[in-house]
């Protein structure tokens, strides 16, 4: 019991992780395969834009 109480502050910080993870999995679960691919595509496109912006900031392009 004492150990659990000691760990509680550390475990509580992961509650948002679990909540967000469950929300993400539920969101994916409600999607068709095509929709999941489309969602991945949106993230990948956004990633590419961020990376291009970073390369410009770093003076590479």
């Amino acid at each position: 019991m004492a150990i659990l109480l000691a760990l509680l502050p550390q475990l509580i910080q992961f509650v948002p992780v679990f909540v967000a993870a469950i929300a993400h999995i539920k969101a994916q679960s409600g999607m068709t395969t095509d929709q999941i691919f489309a969602a991945a595509g949106l993230v990948l496109d956004a990633n590419n834009q961020k990376l291009v912006d970073d390369l410009k900031r770093l003076g590479y392009i």
Binding site: G41, N47, N48
Partner: protein, 152 residues
């Protein structure tokens, strides 16, 4: 800072692990893993930026450039895999064969990310943070590998 980074990385690890046990079709598993890789890359970008813009910076501009270029290669390889995979309605022997080289390009780019991006970071704390994202990337890759090469 550590908690803000640990929370989203833990999220990706958790959702990858949970998805291993689900009963989706192989193509759906590949789709979810692709999405997980995309999210992992997004997290890596955020981690990279936060390390570069912290005061004092925890990675140098040269280190950030190496990471940025390596992440761009992983992102591009994942885009190509995703675009090919989504043209299929199911994964059979033929479609798996078509996807395999694209998957291998992703794994090669992730290896490059580790060797040319992460290992070159001098600040050990910063290196550990970025390496943690690599862990979530590798977990998602393992899912795709099991789909393409195994019976998952």
């Amino acid at each position: 800072m550590r908690r803000r980074i640990a929370v989203p990385i833990g999220l990706v690890l958790l959702l990858v692990l949970l998805q291993v046990a689900c009963t989706d079709s192989q193509l759906t598993k590949a789709a979810k893993a692709s999405d997980d890789i995309a999210v992992s890359i997004s997290l890596a970008i955020d981690v990279k930026r936060s390390l570069a813009m912290s005061i004092p910076p925890l990675i140098t501009p040269e280190e950030e450039l190496a990471l940025t270029l390596a992440l761009q290669r992983v992102n591009t390889a994942t885009m190509l895999f995703k675009e090919k995979a989504m043209t299929f309605k199911t994964l059979d022997a033929n479609t798996k064969t078509a996807l395999l080289p694209l998957f291998q390009t992703i794994t090669a780019s992730v290896t490059e990310l580790n060797n040319q991006g992460i290992l070159g970071i001098k600040n050990q704390d910063a290196k550990a943070k970025v390496a943690l994202v690599l862990t979530s990337l590798s977990a998602a890759l393992a899912t795709i590998q099991s789909v393409l090469m195994g019976g998952a």
